[in-house]
Amino acid sequence: MTSRPISRACLVLLIGVGCVAAMRSVWAQGPDVGTEAQRESGKQLYARYCAQCHGEKGDGEGYATPHLYPRPRDFTTGKFKVRTTANGALPTHQDLVNIIRRGMPYTSMPAWPKLTDQDVTNLAYFITTFSPDFTNAERVPQPVPLPSAPSATDESIAQGKKLYEETGCARCHGTLGRGDGPSAPTLKDDWDHPIRATDLAKSWTFRAGSSREDIFRTMSTGFNGTPMPAFVDALTPEQRWAITDFIVSLSGSDGPGYSNLVVARHVRDPIDLAKGTASFAAAPAARLPIVGQIMEPGRAFHPPTTSVTVQAIYDAQSIALLVRWHDMSAEKTGQNGPSLPVPPEEEENAAPGGSQPAGTSPFGEAEAAPEGAPQAEQDPFAEGAAPSQASEFSDAVLVQIPSEAPVDARKPYFIFGDAQSSVDLWFFDLARADPLQFTGRGSADIAPNDTGDVTGVASYDRGEWSVIFKRPLRPASAAPFAPGEFLPIAFSVWDGFSRERGNRRGLTQWYSVYLEPQDVPSAIGPMIRTALLILAIELAVVGWVRWRYGSRARGELGEPRQPTATHA
């Protein structure tokens, strides 16, 4: 009996010794920076694949840098966004490997699926040579514990929503997660470049990946060099998983589900602009990707808008289009126009969001301190909302259709038309009450053509613009919209905060709008007719076979002749 407690104590001691030994071996491992040969191999790969953006010296000053936003990582500072390690710590070797493999969606950092595992490993080792921190034995990165996920439930989402507000996420990311929090316009990174709070309602654009594990990791370890803090100490894993579940619920879908067609649905009641977006409840939504206008001088390499969502309805007289997109802040002052000049020098080093005076980081110094106090307990938002000063350029949106309905495949040039075929531009400067019309014959030839046919109404709510355009189906001098017909359509969006105007904007290529006929033929009638016809033939055949051969057997039903004939 006495031997048992002793053996137990021995066991505890053994485990303790084992743990200490294990810890020591981790520390003793030292920095994981690969061999000389691996780094040398990585150097060759870096020169070929990475130096153009990240620079020969790894300082993020490559050839492409003036046109990139977010800017390429400066490896010399040792500050890396996506890590499994504590706030302010270096990334692990595996963290570096992962980000090279996966890239950062919706930035200029691509994924590198073509590189072999060995190549990526060598690259990751070479990157460590840019910062002395990686060889510092006291800064060997240690992953923080990232426990696996409980399954998402309605309760966890509701709890996450509550925590999201209590923790202050909404101050930057906005109440509905659209990156429109009151602090969002003031955010800067450690290099004093303006930085945007992530639009949490578009999970496919998340820099560090959109899986639940990715979101949980980001929330736990933060983004070094940015105002995004780490919550590994401030929140329990359960709380972080709950917020993760809430963030996942904000997007509504796994991917953007980009479309190429806007289907306009017929409505019986006359369209009333005063009813606003409610009129569009039954109309299918098409999300169309926005790309930078990088074809004409005055280019926008990284428009903050990545997509517009379009719905359309029509009644006996008119068609109405609802265009929605997320915008960090509504610029309702200043002016905008499709042909406002953009000085060529603005293409260089044009970081979006330069128009507002810099605020301090909403989290103060907290994000710089690796072992800092839990940020959530501070009041990082004492400075309050962004100064609501007048913007030079207002937000704006534009719908483009051909001036004449195309008779064949030929369309006007997708950027404001061309000399041969012009486009109608429905332009809504959101500092004004009503839209204007222009005729475009190319970016350099845009003339006012305000027939007064196009009316509209715009509203901004919690990070989203909703703009409705309305026009008669068949005006005196413009392309008609006809039920059952397709018409090319394209969109442009200007973000006044990013000083977008004229050629500097986000745009779509040509897509189509289709007016679904008022009476969509029901499939029920033809289905029943076909089924009855075949059933009758079957019964006739079976009946005949039974009458002819069936003296031996008696039954109720019958069957067709030869499967070959039926199938054919």
Binding site: Y63, P110, I294, I534, Y549, L557, A568
Partner: protein, 271 residues
């Protein structure tokens, strides 16, 4: 050919032979077998209209075969008659009689709910170039023009590398957004572009003269002839943004980075 599908069909036919299947089973097996081969046996998909045409021929052939003699007619009709008259098949017969109209109705439903597709325009990918273009008030004869920096590779390798490096800078400041970091046409804006940007790594540019490239670069999408769909292409007319030598330097970089050579002029002369 999709070898696995072909093998599977052959194995099923072998098994039927081994089990001495009746003529009716054989007719059915031939019909299904040919359909499977047409539909799944070829790596390039065959249009549905062609498949149904072939299946019509197969059906007629099978009908003709099984009705070509008294014996065969009997062999086929006997199991069918038994199926329709014998009591033990009544339940199965009833199910079949109901299943066939239900399937036909489902088919009608699917056909009436084909997703809407906007009108398609099939463009010519590499339309013929004009014989001459004017870039920055300078005429370039596309039949004779060659990259002025290409010969430096032999005569002055140092200067050649300088021009390649200039091309590299131009590429990553301007072209990377669509044509991608590794030049394979997968830049960050491709999800919003149709036609998609050219992939420079797949050998396409090795089959083109470098004068063709200077035409495509200087005049861009708007400079395409009608059959190229100039209204849809997002390729800028780079003469608005780059000097002529900068375009040649970018072309130099495209060939150098991908380890390719432009098609030589002598080859064109033969055509």
């Amino acid at each position: 050919m999709n070898i696995l599908v072909v093998l599977a069909v052959a194995i099923v036919f072998g098994l039927l032979r081994f089990r001495r299947a009746g003529l009716l089973a054989w007719a059915g097996a031939w019909w299904v077998g040919v359909y499977v081969l047409l539909r799944f046996g070829f790596s390039a998909p065959i249009p549905a209209s062609v498949v149904s045409l072939y299946m019509g021929i197969v059906s007629i052939a099978l009908l003709a075969y099984v009705s070509s003699s008294e014996e065969r007619r009997d062999e086929v009709s006997r199991p069918l008659v038994r199926f329709m008259t014998e009591k033990r098949y009544t339940a199965l017969l009833g199910a079949t009689v109901l299943a066939i109209p239900a399937l036909a109705a489902a088919n009608v439903y699917v056909r009436m709910n084909v997703p809407l597709e906007p009108p398609l325009f099939s463009r010519t990918v590499h339309p013929a170039s004009p014989s001459e273009i004017t870039v920055h008030d300078k005429k370039i004869d596309l039949d004779t023009a060659e990259n002025p920096f290409l010969r430096l590779e032999r005569t002055n390798p140092g200067e050649f590398r300088t021009h390649v490096e200039n091309g590299r800078r131009i590429y990553y400041r301007n072209c990377v957004f669509c044509h991608g970091d590794d030049l394979s046409g997968n830049g960050m804006f491709v999800h919003g572009l149709d036609p998609i940007p050219t992939n420079f790594t797949d050998g396409t540019i090795a089959g083109l003269r470098d004068s063709f490239l200077v035409w495509r670069i200087s005049k861009g999408g708007p400079g395409l002839p009608e059959e190229g769909g100039p209204w849809d292409s997002a390729m800028p007319a780079w003469e608005k943004l780059l000097k002529e030598e900068e375009m040649w330097e970018a072309i130099l970089f495209l060939y150098d980075y991908t380890g390719q050579k432009p098609r030589a002029r002598e080859e064109t002369a033969h055509q």
